[in-house]
């Protein structure tokens, strides 16, 4: 098979790659570009471990061909931290111990960031629905949901004068 030449933008960097016509974006990211943060859990769009953002839309990289990336703007987990400074969501995932084995974590982070960019004050239900396509076999989701809600709360603070946060989690 002849390879297709693709020019795209990944995390703001102009990127060129060649790929087979039937190669997924996930395979391109991992095997051709060495960006192994996006994970392959199922390869069928069920687990969300390969979540990336394409032109502002959250998608599974396993359900998109590399060839489709031509001229698109792609954001992956590798673009989330600013150098050594973690994104607030990454920090909150650590603070809340919202991960164990870590395979699902990049997908959850990318998906949660996409949610908070659209809705800075989601309800717990909204967080759970938005993240329903991200599967975790370790944590049981509660800590992840708490980390996302806590991040949203912190990120809203500068914009609105809020009552002093007296909240401390009691429930385990």
């Amino acid at each position: 098979m002849f390879q297709i030449q693709i020019s795209t933008s990944i995390n703001g960097d102009d990127t060129e790659f060649s790929c087979e016509p039937d190669e997924t974006l996930l395979d391109v990211l991992r095997d051709r570009l060495g960006m192994t943060g996006s994970k392959e859990g199922c390869g069928t769009g069920d687990c969300g471990a390969c979540s990336v953002v394409v032109d502002g839309r959250l998608v599974c990289a396993c359900l998109m061909l590399g060839a489709e990336a031509q001229g698109r703007e792609i954001e992956t987990i590798e673009g989330m931290a600013d150098g050594t400074e973690l994104h607030p969501l990454q920090q909150k995932f650590l603070d809340h111990a919202a991960l164990q084995c870590g395979v699902c974590t990049p997908g959850f982070l990318v998906a949660a960031k996409s949610l908070l960019e659209r809705n800075d004050n989601p309800t717990e239900e909204e967080v759970r629905y938005w993240l329903a396509g991200n599967l975790c076999r370790c944590t049981g989701y509660d800590k992840i949901v708490r980390a996302v809600l806590d991040t949203a709360k912190d990120m809203r603070k500068p914009a609105k004068a809020k009552k002093p946060a007296a909240r401390k989690r009691v429930k385990a």
Partner: protein
């Protein structure tokens, strides 16, 4: 395999008509890529329609809507005019998969994938939607219920593709709804589904109705007898009972891991009844 990304519908049709071997149209890819990966589909050609700008848009078509074949479910949900006019169709499309899937999956793809359990199809059938088909001989419109011949099979001929889904102008006092049953709250395939669209007169008497069932036959069914159970009534309990009975009578499902025949026959009536109540309340402007 060759990957093509034409910029016009005309070019897409040319490619489809001239292609040798098996050819697949790629819209959202949420079914096609899974099939390719599992080895069920090994196309020689893929024609990606997402570079065809009119197919990526929702257009007001007179008082109705033309939903381009590459429009994702998420884009449908984000269109307030569409969601207001045809909430049943938009809600059905919004039931398909996760946020990630919503960002890619299309109702034209859901139709052409021809699964009997496709969630958006019964809703489209109830709404009286048509598929706008483009091929080497030009355009034709086909009622959505006539597109699928059986699981995985459509009436599309060589060189043809669905360009858009056409939703009609909605008459006054009309409501639509789609409900499905799955064993959990989200992320599953319908065990059975029912779509209802009905129109009431000023006195609340039903003057027109369309009732459809999914996942209870090899294709989505338009159940005229169920619609007749509503017409001429105020969609009261007696009419709803007759509707449910007609739906259960029309269902001819299989037993599989998702549900038994018996259960599907029963639930088809239950879902149609509940969907009719929602559609009626929407027609009355209650919700």
């Amino acid at each position: 395999m060759q990957y093509h990304a034409p910029a016009t519908v005309k070019d897409a049709v040319k490619l489809l008509a001239a292609s040798k071997g098996s050819t697949q149209v790629l819209a959202g890819g949420t079914d096609l890529l899974v099939r390719m990966r599992s080895g069920f589909s090994e196309p020689d050609n893929i024609i990606d329609i997402k570079r065809i700008s009119p197919m990526c848009k929702i257009a007001r078509d007179g008082k109705g809507f033309a939903i381009g074949a590459a429009v994702s479910s998420a884009e449908m949900s984000e269109n307030p005019a569409l969601a207001k006019a045809w909430p049943g169709v938009v809600e059905a499309a919004a039931l398909i998969g996760s946020t990630q899937i919503q960002g890619r999956a299309t109702i034209a793809g859901n139709l052409c994938n021809a699964s009997p359990a496709a969630d958006s199809v019964p809703a489209m059938v109830a709404a009286g939607a048509k598929a706008l088909i483009r091929g080497p001989k030009g355009k034709r419109q086909v009622a959505v219920e006539k597109i699928c011949k059986g699981p995985g099979k459509t009436v599309l001929k060589k060189g043809e593709l669905v360009e858009a889904i056409l939703l009609p102008a909605k008459p006054a006092r009309t409501g639509d709804a789609y409900l499905r049953f799955i064993p959990r709250t989200e992320m599953d395939i319908a065990v059975a589904g029912a779509g209802v669209c009905l129109t009431l007169d000023a006195k609340g008497v039903c003057t027109a109705a369309r009732v459809s069932l999914g996942a209870i036959a090899p294709t989505v069914l338009l159940v005229n007898k169920a619609a007749q159970a509503l017409v001429g009534t105020k969609v009261d309990d007696d009419a709803l009972d007759a509707l449910a009975k007609a739906c259960s009578a029309a269902a001819r499902p299989i037993d599989d891991k998702r549900g038994t025949k018996e259960f599907r026959i029963h639930i088809a009536g239950v879902l149609a009844r509940r969907a009719a109540i929602i559609a009626r309340d929407r027609a009355l402007g209650k919700s």
